[in-house]
Symmetry: C2
Subunit: 466 residues, 2 copies
């Protein structure tokens, strides 16, 4: 039994029927290419042999009576692998369009909170006998770094690896907590929670500093609430649209070298270019720059030991109002240096501390009011979208025995920011995952296409530079 941190639990509190807070990953496996045979049952059994290595896949959330405290993780004594690993087929012709539709449908379904918060949907019927796997994890149970650790147990450096049978089960003994004790503990911890009051002046002081630095025209992090409105900055529905595409990492490295910037700067510039093109095509390009939230892992810097989510956020200007891609790249690179410094001033534990002490019901009531009154339409836009750039493994990997062709990540979308672009660099490729509220972005494939135009323009400039 372990208590969820406030930040981990906040992903449960903030979830509603339409704002679903799980993350998805789409793996394309190519069994024919590595000479192994694919069989659903064998894949599921191999997963079963590895599960005991990943405790988070066996634990479920147990709520404290009356929500007097954050919930606790308990071992799921009724664990049943068949409940978590399911199978689907892809309609013909089994191409990326059909796959994107199906991934959108899977991402649009809420998860079962009475069980460990993950699902795996194996999709057969892809062209060339490939197999797709959509993994779904609740954000309360996984963040980028813990997710990567989890993948390490499910992946190998060679094909056809078969783990030995797990040691004899000792999971039948329950660690089911005593609800009365949990409630009492919650009451005892209550006065400590008043510490949240002290955080208000601290936070206001920090925000004030940010605004002043910005006024003094010092380079720094973009200010939230100053973003322009775009079609995807509205109240979201439960439906999701999905697109994905792959680009060679070598192209990004060539651009980086030509302009002496960081990989992350190039990635942000490429996405900014794609967004600019998409919005222009729809006649919706704002005069001022879009602002993206960029999650930053604080696993290295946080003083908190517990919890899966150790993350903070940067607000990044995307300079979508700048036409020239090279100028855009330079501005983004400069701003990123400033934003990183600013971010350190805010402190790695800023989000964690706030979330730890806010009473659970505040979150629940706030998000329901936000959605019912469609507040996303009424106040200034906080940020336009979330962009996440995750470095992945650079060698070929095999998932439960089969070669991974590509691995597309999809993050959550929020009221007021109904688009998420997550990029993973893996094995010489950049895999881009676009996910959005289907009503606000019915055609994310147009953004995915625009990624390639955006890279071409930068490459052309890089070649001209030489």
């Amino acid at each position: 039994m372990e208590r969820l941190t406030g930040l981990d639990a906040s992903f449960l509190y903030l979830e509603t029927d339409t704002q679903l807070l799980h993350v998805c990953a789409l793996l394309i496996l190519d069994p024919p290419a590595d000479g192994t045979n694919y069989e659903f049952t064998a894949l599921k059994e191999e997963l079963g042999r590895r599960l005991h290595l990943i405790p988070s896949m066996r634990r479920r959330v147990h709520r404290v009576p009356f929500d007097l405290d954050h919930p606790v993780w308990v071992t799921d004594t009724g664990f049943d692998l068949d409940r978590h690993v399911r199978r689907l087929g892809l309609p013909s012709p089994g191409g990326p369009k059909e796959l994107a539709e199906l991934v959108g449908d899977i991402a649009a379904q809420p998860m079962d909170r009475d069980r460990p918060l993950w699902e795996m949907w194996v999709i057969e019927g892809l062209a060339d006998d490939k197999v797709a796997v959509v993994s779904k994890y609740h954000h309360a149970a996984v963040d980028g770094v813990t997710g990567a650790n989890m993948m390490a147990y499910l992946c190998d450096a060679e094909p056809g690896v078969r783990y030995p049978d797990p040691p004899a089960e000792n999971h039948t003994e329950s660690d089911e907590p005593n609800d009365l004790a949990l409630a009492a503990e919650g009451l005892v911890r209550m006065p400590a929670k008043l510490g949240v009051v002290g955080m208000v002046p601290k936070t206001l002081g920090k925000l004030g500093g940010m605004v002043q630095r910005r006024r003094a025209d010092k380079q720094g992090m973009a200010l939230p609430f100053t973003a322009p409105r775009t079609p995807f900055n509205r109240t979201i529905t439960r439906h999701r649209s999905v697109a994905f595409t792959t680009a060679p990492l070598a192209d990004i490295k060539e651009i980086r070298a030509a302009f002496d910037v960081k990989i992350n700067d190039v990635v942000l510039t490429v996405i900014a270019g794609a967004l600019r093109q998409y919005l222009s095509e729809h006649d919706e390009l704002p005069d001022t720059s879009l602002i993206a939230s960029v999650p930053v892992s604080t696993h290295e810097t946080s003083r908190h030991e517990r919890g899966v989510n150790k993350v903070s956020t940067l607000f990044a200007q995307l300079y979508t109002d700048v036409e020239d891609p090279v100028e855009r790249l330079r501005l983004i690179a400069e701003a990123n240096v400033g934003a990183k410094e600013e971010h350190e001033v805010l402190g790695a534990d800023f989000l964690q501390d706030w979330a730890e002490y806010a009473p659970p019901n505040t979150f629940r009531i706030a998000v329901r009011a936000y959605s019912s009154f469609k507040l996303a339409e009424r106040h200034p836009v906080v940020h336009n979208l979330v962009i996440s750039n995750v470095p992945g493994p650079q060698q070929p990997l095999y998932f439960l025995g089969h070669r991974i062709d590509s691995l597309f990540p999809f993050g959550p979308v929020f009221h007021g920011a109904g688009l998420n672009v997550t990029v993973l660099s893996a094995n010489g490729d950049l895999d881009f995952g676009f996910i959005a509220c289907r009503e606000l972005v019915p055609d994310p494939d147009r953004m995915a296409d625009a990624v390639h135009d955006s890279i071409s323009a930068l490459l052309k400039a890089a070649h001209a530079q030489r």
Copy 2:
């Protein structure tokens, strides 16, 4: 704008994450057999051309502020067919086992309450180029009779029928109600709702009468709360297991003629036999008879004009403690005569009246408490399962242009009664749909198999009779 009746709304109030109150139907279409070609887009377009004939497919639920009154139906001005009609593939080999798994997964997902409460999942990749369609409707929006009316618009007596384009849309004008007016109206209607108080003595009187008649050993309806406990009478989870099978209606008619009973008596006896065999195999057959709830349509007798659900319920002894199938059939036939009379004493509007006046939150709080405290495990079993027997059309039918091979219905399951058997007679067949909480009945296919043993035993006795 039309207000939901209390009974229709109760299906919304009583729904939780695990007790999902929608109904499903699985249609197997055989396009090659009737010479038409199947194409997903064409099917979806044909549906689009017919939708304006079925207003309930265009309306969604709008809640009254603070639930001061039952919600109202409003036209969905943002209606988008693509949100309701989705496509999946069946994993190989595309047989009934894979199909049953997929139907269970579809039935286990809650519906989006912000949109009209129906979904259609077209499943490709069945053996012999057949196509399956899983229709999902919320029970608040449909009951047996209204569902059949709906199907009349989607089915034709010949293949390849193409409807003309619908008349020009006038659905863009909103009938979005004024929330303040709705709330005020709810307050005004409040005193009338106190009528519920008067129902208590009336109900107790009726229940007392039932018990007395039963004591006097008069034939009559089985008494609720006297059912034995079986593995499926527990608190349910969100997961569903599904099985389906078909038997010739001619066999049932032969049995009916041999023993001079009704079709419905034979159907109940067949299912009772299958349940007896299933429970014996699992070493769980109770000493006393199972009791089934059998929904009865009151569309002909109800004095209420509004609402989609006009239904009452009979409690039927299944005589699963009787080994001889012919004796069981005779007992069931006799009891059914008595139960019908008793049911008329209770009155067609019994459920409607109760549901109309109970405040919405009573239902919500009650069902949450029931599930959290696992009350289903603690009090006497009300009934063991729901059995529904629906007469369908007896001529060949074509669904959106394609021949219907079979049509399996699946009702909802409840805490304490985690199994539902629904039977539809159509085009010379009886189509049996079994749906259950997956944890309580992991193997409903064993029940479906047992249906055929049960019919064989009765047929043999019928032949011996001649």
